[in-house]
């Protein structure tokens, strides 16, 4: 998918979060890495149509991200978004979390939506958990349901905002394995992540976002092997300090 970003600025009050980001490339799987407070989540929310930028624009496959509410709802529906804590609806069962948007937003009939939900639950190792509400599931299960909900309408792109940051290590692997599977099947995604192993080995491209600017961008292997900026060098060095 062709992604063009032109002069993207975002400020909250007088705090500059994104300071002029320009980008143009084909995106299949992209990891956004960088220190906390570097603007990664803000950037992803703008891409997802959840936040209107202060200045600049995003163009996906030639389509400018709209600004009016009705068109925005359609735009968001064409993507799949996964939040750090899943963002599942508390009051609905896992199955209903997946099926309700299929019916209400994508116009599927009841039977097809339920079948699609069950098919995904099954595939993601959640058969038998469909009737449970989010509070009754483990963190890893919740996140897999959230990913199932996001991929259910076959979106053109998945956006994941630190999908494993709130999880215990064993659940992290569970979720990352699932994403790697989805990639093999051709699902495109952009993920904000602190899992450097995942960014390096499972994502084609990596973007390093630091102090509100896109400091480095390139194929994952190159970026990790030879950081060009001292900031990325320091960032990776810090992460490796306690690695086994």
């Amino acid at each position: 998918m062709r992604m063009q970003i032109e002069g993207l600025w975002q400020s909250f009050g007088n705090r500059q979060v994104l300071c002029g980001i320009d980008f143009e490339d084909d995106v299949t799987t992209l990891a956004i890495i960088g220190p906390s407070g570097g603007g990664k989540s803000t950037f992803l929310r703008i891409l997802g149509g959840l936040l209107a930028p202060s200045a600049g624009r995003v163009v996906l496959d030639g389509e400018v991200v709209p600004t009016d509410e009705a068109a925005l709802a359609r735009y968001r529906a064409s993507l799949g978004f996964v939040f750090q804590d899943g963002g599942l609806f508390h009051h609905l069962s896992a199955r209903e979390n997946i099926a309700l948007p299929l019916r209400a937003v994508h116009g599927m009939d009841e039977a097809r939506a339920a079948a699609r939900a069950d098919e995904l639950l099954d595939r993601f190792g959640l058969a038998g958990e469909g009737g449970k509400r989010p509070a009754q599931l483990s963190g890893g299960q919740r996140q897999r349901v959230a990913i199932a909900r996001a991929v259910a309408p076959r979106p053109k792109m998945l956006l994941l905002d630190e999908p494993t940051s709130a999880l215990d290590p064993e659940y992290t692997t569970e979720v990352l394995d699932l994403l790697a599977d989805l990639k093999r099947e051709g699902t495109r995604f952009i993920t904000v992540t602190h899992e450097m192993g995942f960014a390096r080995h499972a994502c084609d491209k990596v973007a390093f976002l630091c102090q509100g600017t896109l400091m480095e961008y390139g194929p994952a292997a190159e970026l990790f092997a030879a950081p060009k900026t001292p900031e990325l060098g320091r960032f990776l060095g810090k992460l490796l300090e306690w690695s086994v």
Binding site: L50, R76, F89, H90, L100, P101, A104
Partner: protein, 261 residues
């Protein structure tokens, strides 16, 4: 052998275990009143119940009618006020805010007198029952507004963002996410409010609405049986409020989707 009078944290007692402990509690309460009555030297006499059963039943029905009528009307007042308290239009926001503070900050008894004799007379509300329901609704509407506002505030921003992310329009977000979560959060408290309204309606006796309390007052002064009538009155209110409280607890457990059960 487990102790028959204790439960572990979070454990629900079995029916037998609960019944035994309940029985002890009820026996203690009745015993306390029994001893008190003996000390005062009063013999209870409930013979008036048979004699006045038609009037008592009428009073009971009227109390229920007032409570239910007021519940509907106070919902119609409380919901818009709860939304109005968050309004961007300042006069609207302050009006809702002042209304809630005035109603919650003054005794219902004073409100009944003031509304009925000043506002009611000035605007021609002469039907005592209608006036009573209106007054109780205005009073209770403030509490309902607070209940609803609390639930609105407790809505998780993440849920709203998730609703936008799946592509819901505003209307769909309201229908599929906000409304169901709001209902499950307010229903237990609203049911509790109904129980309060059953009790609060007793104050309408001061403007001579012949509901349960006024009926019993009349019977009391006709029979000079003060203790019997008031004890019976308290019991009659309990018959109305206990089931409502039970339903409220049921909703609370049933709709508590935030916790695994």
């Amino acid at each position: 052998m487990a102790n028959p009078f204790t439960v572990r944290p979070g454990e629900r007692p079995g029916p037998m275990k609960a019944a035994v402990s309940y029985l002890i509690v009820v026996a203690l309460i009745i015993g306390f009143f029994w001893v008190s009555l003996l000390q005062v030297g009063v013999a209870l006499d409930f013979s008036f119940v048979a004699q006045y059963r038609v009037r008592i039943l009428d009073g009971l029905l009227l109390t229920l009618e007032i409570a239910l009528g007021s519940l509907v009307m106070s919902l119609a007042i409380g919901l818009p006020v709860a939304v109005g308290q968050g309004s961007r239009i300042l006069p609207v926001r302050y009006l809702c805010d002042v209304y809630v503070k005035l109603m919650r900050g003054t005794p219902l008894l004073a409100q009944i007198y003031l509304f009925f004799y000043i506002v009611g007379t000035a605007w021609g509300v002469e039907n005592r029952l209608a006036a009573g329901i209106i007054i109780l609704s205005i009073f209770s509407g403030a509490y309902i507004a607070e209940i609803v506002r609390g639930s609105l505030n407790s809505l998780d921003a993440g849920q709203l963002e998730a609703a936008r992310a799946v592509g819901f329009t505003r209307r769909q977000t309201l229908r599929y996410v906000v409304a169901p979560q709001l209902v499950s959060r307010t229903l237990p408290a609203l049911t509790g409010q109904l129980a309060s309204m059953v009790k609060d309606s007793s104050l309408l006796s001061v403007i001579a609405v012949i509901e349960l309390t006024q009926t019993m007052q009349e019977i009391s002064s006709a029979t000079f049986n003060l203790f019997g009538t008031y004890l019976f009155l308290a019991g009659a209110y309990l018959v109305l409020t206990l089931p409502i409280m039970f339903v409220s607890r049921y909703f609370e457990r049933r709709l508590d989707y935030a916790h695994a059960n």
